[in-house]
Subunit: 211 residues, 2 copies
Amino acid sequence: MNVLEAIATTRAIRRYRPDPISDDDLATILFSATRAPSGSNRQPFRFLVLRDGPRARQAKALLGESFRAGWAEKRAEDGYDRGSAVAEGSPKARTARAMQHFVDHFEETPVVVLACLVRYRAPNPYEGASIYPACQNLLLAARALGYGGVLTQWHAFVEAELRTLLEIPDGVTISATIPLGRPMGRHGPVRRRPLPELVFDDVWEQPAPYV
Amino acid sequence: MNVLEAIATTRAIRRYRPDPISDDDLATILFSATRAPSGSNRQPFRFLVLRDGPRARQAKALLGESFRAGWAEKRAEDGYDRGSAVAEGSPKARTARAMQHFVDHFEETPVVVLACLVRYRAPNPYEGASIYPACQNLLLAARALGYGGVLTQWHAFVEAELRTLLEIPDGVTISATIPLGRPMGRHGPVRRRPLPELVFDDVWEQPAPYV
């Protein structure tokens, strides 16, 4: 798949077929992730892959709880149960249904990747420059091979238990939890704002003539 | 260009030909950046493009100072001027020469993109999940079109002056400064650790049989 096409069509995928991801495909996806840049090329990224091993199964159960808690919180906070959101067929109602399905079936996700960062200095808002480019490579490579996933932070509710179970050492943070699998149903479009709202030229908020 | 090839061959590029980036290519690169995922699809990323407008020229001069200060600090801290690093032809000596050239010629960089994040909550180590995937898309799209760049944080030394000059509002952070241009000289390989050092399966540090 052409890189520009992959970039333009990679979207969050939250419904998966039960098919596993083949070893070869998993290796390609992870190789792609690790080609990403990082500060001073330190490569502080580590990928802990959860398939159906003994710890993975327990970890997926913990994560299932955590994702359901995450969605319950968001559902309440972002008004998914009031106003236009409850109208059958509205975009918000569709999102709510898809999210509920996603978290209810989390344990069945074929592969869950924990994208971890080995810190070498205090936590700070810019450390993500050494892990999230790798996550994007991972998602693009998955897309190229016919898989889909989503970059999430919803491990937060069970982080302590998860770290103990998976023996993740101090000094390592879980920067993202990425479920992966073959998309179920149609793929759907990538919804983003028009370019002129996101790109400025020469000075803040000055329109860029080329977009 | 195939997406897996683009991912495997995108490396930091710090020497640029003087050629500008065409409007069409710039639009494609920025479109690609903005297709990235972000938390709740909020799309808090903004790209401020510095070409050769009046503010851009001043900003590049400020950034040139900042990059030279950044490199001077790193050069001292990371021992680029002692031991094996001073041996002519050693990898460290080559890096030092390339970095010195990069910062000395910073003002000539055809395009500099400031990747900015509009914050909606307090700064935190995970906010990068909504900006650095976009930066990686940008670099991959640039690669596909024959350009190269590098993800840096070296605006830090002049951030206050830069924000004033470019009228970047409070509540917006500069998450990365990305110089871009046509690579000068040969492209060079992507140097990364072997996959088994970076990927674990089922539990921390357990080797993954598929890598």
